[in-house]
């Protein structure tokens, strides 16, 4: 058992335990940051796997992502600190079954498959490799990811902003007629009869 083995098992235990805590804590903010810690543990394993750039980039990215996640938690949950204990789950048994089955299936596949063994050579310039790959042979893939992210930005603004093209989003938009003064082109939004308010999710 070398030092890196011990580190690997410690970080693995950390990753799995914090991942489990995500769904077992009452405080939503703690859940977000437990998830962040799970990612950090995986990032540390990536560092052990001689992927320094990917490891640190994961830490960087997940710190920001989980911060935003925590904000949304505080925003949308009426009990973000879990001062009022709660359990907001559905189809609980099925989910546990599915989780266990996924673990068992993937685990069996990992144990039973004859896996290739060819480790990264020490001293291989992996960051340089990644750079030349991103901006060389796989530039199209990289650029596609970039364009997709741009499209995502536009889409998120469109989806989340209040002012829509045909009126405020929360009032139900209705496109104008095809000719001036004509019948509206779309279907008229029906008035929602049952807005499900917070009060409905009973414990």
């Amino acid at each position: 058992m070398t030092l890196s083995d011990i580190a690997f098992w410690l970080f693995s235990a950390g990753a799995v335990w914090t991942a489990w805590r995500v769904f077992r804590t009452d405080s939503m903010v703690r859940a977000s940051f437990a998830l962040m810690l799970s990612f950090f543990c995986v990032a540390a394993i990536l560092l052990l796997l001689s992927a320094p750039y990917l490891g640190i980039a994961t830490i960087f990215m997940m710190a920001v992502e989980m911060m935003v996640m925590a904000l949304f938690m505080v925003m949308f949950m009426m009990n973000p600190a879990g001062l009022n204990p709660m359990m907001m789950v559905h189809q609980h048994k099925v989910s546990i079954g599915a989780g266990v089955a996924a673990f068992a299936g993937l685990g069996a596949a990992a144990l039973l498959t004859d896996l290739p063994h060819h480790a990264v050579a020490a001293g291989k310039p992996v960051i340089r490799d990644l750079g030349t790959e991103l901006l060389g042979g796989s530039m199209l893939i990289f650029e596609t990811a970039g364009i997709t992210l741009l499209a995502t930005m536009v889409a998120t603004v469109v989806l989340s902003s209040r002012s829509g093209r045909f009126g405020a989003a929360d009032e139900g938009s209705r496109p104008p007629g095809l000719e001036p003064g004509g019948k509206p082109a779309g279907r008229a939004p029906e008035r929602d009869s049952d807005h499900s308010h917070h009060a409905e999710h009973g414990g």
């Binding site: 009426m78 009973g202 414990g203």
Partner: protein, 345 residues
Amino acid sequence: MAMKALARIAMRAPIPVFVATGRGWLGPCRKLAASADIAVVANIRQAAILIVAGEPRDEDRDALRRLHDQMPHPRATAWWGTRPFAEADSALEVSATDDPGPLLRRAFAALLARVRESEPDWLPDDPPNPWRGEGDHGQGGKGMMGGTPYGRPMAMTADDLRDGLALDSFSFTVGPFYPSLPPGLALELVLQGDIIQSARIVRPPLDPGKGAADACRSMIVGRMLHLLELDALARRCEAVPVDDRDAVAALRRRIGASGAMRAIPDGLGRIAGADARTRFTRMVAALGDAEASSFAGPGGRLVDLLPGLEWSEAMLVINSFSHRDLVALAPREVEPEEHREGHGT
């Protein structure tokens, strides 16, 4: 031993005091703030001595008790020109005409040396609502939404002014001893995030009384500078000798150079043709000019100006008025209802 050495060093620090200003006491409080030996802090959590300057209003007495109990140990209370509460044992009393400095220094040293006993709480330390034991999870009610955990009602959704998302709103009371508000003013605010949805005057600001225009002005400009994160300049402003023309002119130049005026957004809190920036500029120009008339009788209500403003903008708007204008803008609202909580810090 180490604690004793620590206390000996700590004794030589400026005395951190929190001042609860009473009616007509702005002038003396300003003198206190000017002393280099005393640090008037903006948060009760930093204070070692609470100074009750002047007779508190009857309706502020409970808020004052809560304020006192938020002060960390070891602590003491000095009663300056007023009679101590019945529950205040071994009170430090200073007569209205005396300078409290020496007495405070002695008491502060005694507190740190553990010679003087720290004051106990004045109010019972109970949760406002007992809640454990009822409901599915012991939250004191039915379902996830029931109950009042720790005496706070669960957040409920309400319409909002900014983006119509209608998330949970949050209502609470600031004042009457909130350091960023004029003395005496207490507001009940409904917030969505940090946007004020509605405001209600719980207590009107204290009437500054006659002849306090100078003290008022430099205290208000000081508060504005605090709000603009210019603490050191604010301290200079609170201490500036108003009859020294050169000192006042130098202060004015410093304020101008810091960009304080331009930092206040254009058109913020506009009423009777003047916005917060204009009012602040006028107030700075009138520093040290006892004759300068305040921008009197703006007409309108403070509570109509605040909704839709972000927290720090709202604080800027409130502090851009002279005390006399604010008294006119924020009259006592007739509502006999008893209020829940006053946030002192």
